[in-house]
Symmetry: C2
Subunit: 427 residues, 2 copies
């Protein structure tokens, strides 16, 4: 690659650390060969002559990272919100996911998902598909075309799923292998496979063992669900009586972070040992606050995860969550943390705007490498926000404008978006 | 008025009762002299010849009713969300409200509020202004121009407010009298005054007595706050040691529904006696779920209010709430009720989509009279929603499309709006 430098001018905001913002008003953000070269209040002389995109009074933030989203569920976002997790899967989710056996249906559905994710402030995502190999490949083709950087998983389920959706153990393993081979042949630039056992109730021990073989053979990361709902946890304790806690049902098979990057969604009810194991193994928790409200799961103790040094990011969890808009997920994270503090446990302080912004950028971004910050050497993922729709009579500082975006922003504010230095088409 | 009849065609949805929707797919909604004449699957022969507005596949719902919103706080919506109520008032609210002494500032700020409320799905609102008479009149002028039907109140505060905002008792009463006279002179069609003692901590007993005199003299309704926050309740018990519960601090002065229509916002911590008194007095509770999250107040027991037959509506409570969008308030109401059920009290079932839709239409609408329904004789307040932005690959029934609006809808879906049979300009 030839050396490629360009510069964005605007009000640059990113996380200095977990609790503080770095703000450079009317500053220069320099991209060099797809990486962030630096943030400057005054453009260094040596960088003169490179193209500058002046975004005026816009905000420029790192791209948002969605650590947990189900692409096939996008079609019923905001629907069927009157059930708890296990019933919700049975009534809403499985019948819809079954439709993705049809590539025609999958294409219509996934195009909507891919288009809307492309237009959002999200630059990175970890995505669940369905059990279907062809539809999952189609989803990956579509995601690749968006220019976003994603992990996509073919789901595995060989038990406790309706017959029309359940795989045989061997079939599940073989299809996963074929899917991985297909993916490797396609030589995507931005789209990577991730092993996706749906959750313990859906996967036999034998299937977990097969998936571990594939994990080792192809050095794949893993995503799944953990300790979302009390009925689910009880069920897992019956299915895996040997597990001291739910997380062990993954860890026993080497699918819990110890030797492969792993995301576990929810962790609403993770206890001390599970949290300690996640920390030890470097598991990423995908906190999905809206989903945890909608499916009546509860509120995850994010403050505790942060205090104990567990890695945490934010997930939209569509369609447990209703929207791919991660600004809304950040607001829900703050709101849920306040209710948890008020109603459940006053020892855990609510989350601040700074903290949820950190989670949605650098926190989750770490799963992708050096992602989610404008520190030197980070992948150049940037979102330019024109917040002029949100009219106001008084002057507002940059920090306030960012907080307001968390509560009120959506894709209308996204004026430009870059992933690894490449501009993303938004129209 | 000459007889004026027109007809809207589309997918008509309104509340049959608290828990069920009435749905008329591709039906006719007839407006006659500003009232709903009827909903018809087939247009009666006698109505032929009247103008029909065919809204194709749009949804047509009763206008939404915002029972509690602070117009001057609209400028800081989505900001300063890291404080509890009493501190939040001191740090965010009072300094901003003080600016409304300037009519110039008030005009800039209130134009934004009025414009955005006009474009939203809201047709009715009960609005707090500030203590300032001229600015409150200006707000009423602007609201009148929108065509929406609203109650607007000049706020009263003669204690426990910063000096720059606190009125003297006599001054507060006199300014309120002058304000009412000014309002009467202006002969608004859609804009009415409502007495607005901010809350007990802001109003001395003497001021309450003066307000009661005005209430009787002009037959005015009342709006205020009640049992939002535990610190506030404790404070009220110290200020009014004679009150057995917070609500008595209003009821003693005849400002609690017994002989005047009254809205009390929040009621997060209302106990049995307070609830019983509200029921007895016909007080309307404005449930403001997002505000109750953002200011860390808690979650009001709406299911209990409904079970006990207390009147309830929905409030955005901007800027405790971040948005005037009542769809979002409905979603927050469902979400909050689920968390309350899960974490706090499993005896109170979560609210359904049908129930929060009822609250946001007919529930709150009752404060305005026969409002919030398409039953015969109700004021013709209708909102036409084009939800085609929310793309989906599968067919969706009307009920599902309404639920989806609750989670995902905003002013972009509002294609037309009518208040008392008059079309509202949306551009």
């Amino acid at each position: 690659m030839n050396e490629s430098i360009f510069i964005l001018k605007g009000n640059i905001v990113y996380s200095k650390n977990q609790t503080e913002l770095a703000i450079c008003k009317q500053g220069y953000l320099v991209s060099k060969n797809g990486k962030t070269e630096g943030v400057y209040q005054t453009l260094p002389f040596r960088l003169g002559g490179n193209p500058i995109h002046d975004y005026g009074d816009c905000l420029i933030i790192p791209g948002l990272v969605d650590l947990h989203v189900h692409a096939p569920q996008y079609s019923f976002r905001g629907l069927g919100m009157d059930l708890e997790l296990l019933e919700w899967l049975e009534v809403n989710t499985f019948p819809e996911e079954a439709k993705f056996e049809s590539l025609d249906y999958a294409e219509r559905a996934y195009r909507i998902f891919a288009d809307n994710l492309r237009k959002s402030a999200t630059t990175r995502a970890c995505i669940f598909g369905t059990v279907h190999r062809p539809a999952t490949l189609l989803l990956m083709d579509l995601m690749e075309k968006t220019g976003l950087d994603t992990f996509v998983g073919k789901v595995n389920m060989d038990r406790n799923a309706p017959e029309y959706l359940r795989e045989e153990t061997e079939e599940s393993a073989e299809e996963t292998l074929e899917w991985i081979k297909d993916v490797l042949h396609r030589k995507y630039q931005n789209t990577r496979p991730i092993l996706t056992p749906r959750f313990t109730p859906s996967c036999t021990d034998e299937l977990m063992e097969e998936l571990k073989k594939l994990q080792i053979r192809f050095s794949l990361p893993v995503q799944s669900h953990l300790s979302e709902n009390q009925g689910e946890i009880q069920w897992v304790s019956e299915l895996c009586p040997w597990a001291e806690f739910y997380g062990e049902a993954y860890d026993r098979f080497g699918l819990f972070g110890a030797d492969c990057p792993t995301i576990m969604a929810h962790c609403v009810y993770s206890g001390s040992r599970e949290i300690a194991r996640m920390k030890e193994n470097g598991v990423f928790i995908a906190h999905c606050p809206e989903s945890n409200m909608n499916v009546s799961s509860g509120i995850a103790p994010v403050r505790r995860f942060l205090q104990e040094g567990v890695r945490v990011g934010i997930g939209s969890d569509v369609a447990g969550g209703s929207t791919e808009n991660l600004f809304r997920a950040m607001a829900h994270a703050v709101q849920a943390s306040k209710l948890r503090w008020r109603i459940q446990d006053q020892s855990l302080q609510p989350l601040s705007a700074e903290e949820v912004f950190y989670l949605a950028t650098k926190g989750g971004g770490a799963f992708f490498g050096k992602v989610g910050s404008f520190e030197k050497g980070y992948d150049f993922d940037a979102v330019v926000l024109d917040d002029s729709r949100l009219a106001h009579p008084q002057p507002l500082d940059i920090r306030s404008r960012l907080e307001r975006m968390i509560y009120l922003g959506d894709e209308r504010e996204v004026r430009a978006k870059y992933v690894k230095g490449q501009s993303i088409r938004l129209s």
